[in-house]
């Protein structure tokens, strides 16, 4: 089975600082991958290189059988890579519903040749997505009226709106209550059951352990572990990386 | 085209001197744009303001222009700090620096230029000093003192700033604030205060740069606009935030401009800087020694 995402020896530096150092990673279709690592280990940089917000300097990124280096971020989104931002970035001059209309119009609509969705269909799809994250009642409100937690849910909903094959959730659970974390996890599991591959980047170990089929660990720009969650957490190098902080 | 060696070497020498001066002019923007990420396109207007202040005290009281600028340093510093405070409160705090911040500085540029026109008129003004007129001759090369003295003063200013940035605590805090504002806060330093000091410093350099400018060439209010391109071209070409890069880029620009003016005519000179800028932005936005 060919991997859905294949990151091959990618590196990225900022001036003198090496953010990513020869990272190799494979994600199989339908897999649930957890990605953990201390702050500053390069997780977000890796996400940015996969999604096209940044360009990797060496190596290559393969998605769905094609090399996607050099493709702009919006083109990668069209091909099925979606991400939520660690710090929510809503479109602040638009209502929640309109925030979701953006990926619907520009990704889904565009993918289908721009013919299939009428305005009514778009609206109902927005409502559906908002219901999935529990924000349906606030459809007409503006992002500035949301709590931090609600903004994260909006971030996730916006990534889902692009109907991706691969969803990268970048620390969507920080600051959430236990039941809210359960809700988000359940949501991600449901998406996964529908066939969406999910990469979960998190610090909340309980969530990562219960969700992931496979766990990868990034420390100082290098991947130091990659395997079954229960094996990885007992790996001495991983333990050292975390306790030694 | 008959390129005489004599002409060529003098053009290059003039370019070197000019480049040294450009470095001082750019030092301020290197701080505000390179380190603080503030697009202060009104900087040249402050320089011209400095020129006119030097002119005023020189013509009316016979004071040496460079001396005037040094006395004016605290006033310009205070002006810079005040401008930053307004900029921070109105735009940076609200995250609206892109559109409104730019418009704000553009408005300042405009208001300064038009005010100068109203007070001094559009005639060219120049200063008088002992070193304006004579030249030193070294072999084939003519070094007019009116360019040599500002160049040396400029390099001194540039060196002073570089020392400040690298050797003093406040200076290093300025470098730090450009790289990681949060870390600075965690160290107990107020980043807003640091930025205010830095911006005040950047405008203070304009006082000196202005005095040097009016020694080199006669000044009228719209001269500032030519310098917008030069200053940002040097900053970008040198790599934002890199003072040594700015110096190299400044000298490079000075030489190319001087050669252009000598062999193609002075009316083409403004296009050189802006052409540099456009090319750099298009092909190598990180500059020569980019961060």
């Amino acid at each position: 089975m060919t991997a859905l995402l294949h990151v091959n020896n990618i590196s990225k530096r900022f001036g003198g600082f090496v953010a990513l150092d020869g990272i190799d990673l494979e994600v199989q279709p339908g897999e649930r991958l957890g990605l953990i690592g201390p702050n500053g280990s390069g997780k977000s940089t890796l996400v940015n290189c996969i999604c096209g917000t940044l360009q990797n300097e060496t190596g290559s990124v393969h998605f769905d059988g094609h090399v996607i280096d050099g493709l702009a971020a919006h083109q990668r989104t069209h091909r099925g890579v979606a991400r939520s931002f660690q710090l929510p970035r809503p479109f602040h001059s638009m209502s929640l519903a309109d925030n979701l209309r953006v990926p619907l119009l520009y990704t889904v609509h565009a993918r289908l040749g721009g013919l299939l969705r009428s305005a009514g269909e778009l609206d109902s799809r927005c409502q559906e997505l908002l219901e999935m994250v529990g924000l349906a009642k606030k459809a007409k409100q503006m992002p500035r009226d949301l709590t931090q937690v609600e903004m994260r849910k909006l971030e996730l909903a916006r990534a889902m709106a692009a109907e991706p094959k691969l969803l990268i959730a970048d620390e969507s659970m920080a600051g959430l209550s236990h039941s809210e974390i359960e809700d988000i996890l359940a949501l991600l599991v449901r998406l996964n059951e529908r066939g969406i591959t999910v990469i979960l980047i998190e610090h909340i170990m309980s969530a990562v352990m219960s969700f992931s089929q496979r766990l990868a660990v990034l420390v100082s720009g290098k991947k130091i572990a990659d395997g079954k969650p229960e094996d990885v957490v007992r790996d001495p190098e991983v333990v050292r990386a975390y306790i030694g902080q | 085209m008959d390129i005489s060696f004599d002409l060529l070497i003098n053009a290059i020498a003039a370019g070197l001197l000019l480049g040294g001066f450009y470095a001082a002019v750019t030092a301020g923007v290197s701080i505000s744009f390179g380190m603080l990420d503030i697009v202060n396109i009104a900087h040249p207007a402050f320089i011209i303001l400095g020129s006119y202040i030097a002119y005023f005290f020189n013509i009316n009281y016979g004071v040496d222009p460079i001396l005037v600028s040094i006395i004016a340093l605290p006033a310009f510093y205070a002006l810079g700090a005040a401008v930053y405070q307004v900029y921070y409160q109105s735009f940076e705090k609200r995250g609206q620096e892109s559109l409104r911040g730019l418009a704000f500085f553009f408005g300042l540029l405009f208001v300064t230029e038009v005010s100068l026109i109203l007070v001094f008129g559009v005639d060219y003004r120049y200063v008088e000093a002992a070193y304006i007129g004579p030249s030193i001759h070294i072999g084939l090369i003519d070094l007019p003192l009116r360019m040599l003295v500002p160049c040396l003063a400029a390099l001194a200013l540039f060196g002073a700033i570089e020392l400040f940035i690298t050797r003093t605590f406040t200076g290093r805090a300025v470098m730090a604030v450009s790289q990681d504002q949060q870390a600075l806060q965690l160290m107990g330093v107020d980043p807003i205060r640091i930025k205010r000091i830095a911006f005040g410093l950047s405008i203070a350099t304009a006082a000196v740069a202005g005095a040097l400018l009016i020694i080199i060439q006669p000044v009228e209010p719209s001269v500032g606009r030519e310098y917008i391109g030069r200053v940002f071209a040097i900053c970008v070409l040198g790599g934002l935030g890199s003072m040594p890069g700015a110096l190299i880029a400044a000298v490079l620009l000075g030489i190319v401009e001087s050669l252009t003016a000598t062999f193609y005519g002075p009316s083409w000179a403004p296009a050189v800087a802006f052409g540099f800028l456009l090319l750099t932005l298009a092909f190598r936005p990180a500059g020569l020694l980019g961060r």
């Binding site: 917000t53 989104t77 979606a82 309109d98 | 892109s98 559109l99 730019l102 208001v111």
Partner: protein
Amino acid sequence: MNTAKFSLITIAVGAVVMAFAHWVHVDYLYFASYTILQFIVLATAWNILGGYCGYVNFGSAAFFAMGAYSSVFMHKLFPLPVPVLILLGAVVSGIAGFGMGYLTLRLRGSFFAIATLALAVVLQTLVVNWDYVGGSRGAYIIRPEEIEFAGITVNYIEYLFALMLGLAVLSLITARTIERSQLGFGFATIRDDELAAEASGVPTLRVKLIATTLSGAFMGMAGAPFPYYIGYLQPSSAFGLEYAVNSIAMPMIGGTTSWVGPLVGAILLGSAQQYATVTISSAVNLLIVGLMLVAFVIIAPNGLIGLVQERLRAWRKP
């Protein structure tokens, strides 16, 4: 109100204005109003890129002057009727807008703004050194007294006024249509958060290029009849300071979020300036514009329209 209805109403208003002007028939008023109409076009054009997309253009004068100088160039080569020159101005400045955008839009917004300044100066230097269009000495275009259309003779000033009125109407209709279209929606996402827009699938570079091309084209159209209006074109007047500052001040003071802002800003500021230039001096008048720009940008970030909207909102919530 849909686009077709709005277009009809705007055209009707334009026709009323034209009829009124024809009835009054005072040359000075034609001149003064022409300037205001020109500013409506420039402010609206600027706002398409600046207000809708969030990319500041400091070089409006460059695109305006390119339209003017392409008219001068054609006048010397092969005389063409002014409406054709307007189209030519649109093409020339549109291509320039596209080219500039292509070179610089992949960078941050602040770099784009600086590059537009650079463009204005480079172009001015080129024109000053280009003798065919008069160089620094300037170019004369003798304006005919009258022009004939199918047997009807029209005063030339009135003709130019009518053309500029038509351009103003066109620019307003275009701006409003964009606002309510998917393109306008795309513009807004770029203005709000370009990174998130790109991640959501918006082809940001392509959308921004459309904005710069349209904006440039309209500015070029405003510039094309200018040499005929003014009779003697010098680089310093075509690339003049008042175009740069007004193209920014009028939308920012009026309000950048909708087509109404530039219209309000152009009419208010334009009329005030016409009055000030005549009664005080043109330098003081520009000073006032600059001060107002700084004041509004600090105090009323959403312009006059924003202030009105806030009042309405406060009035509606008891």
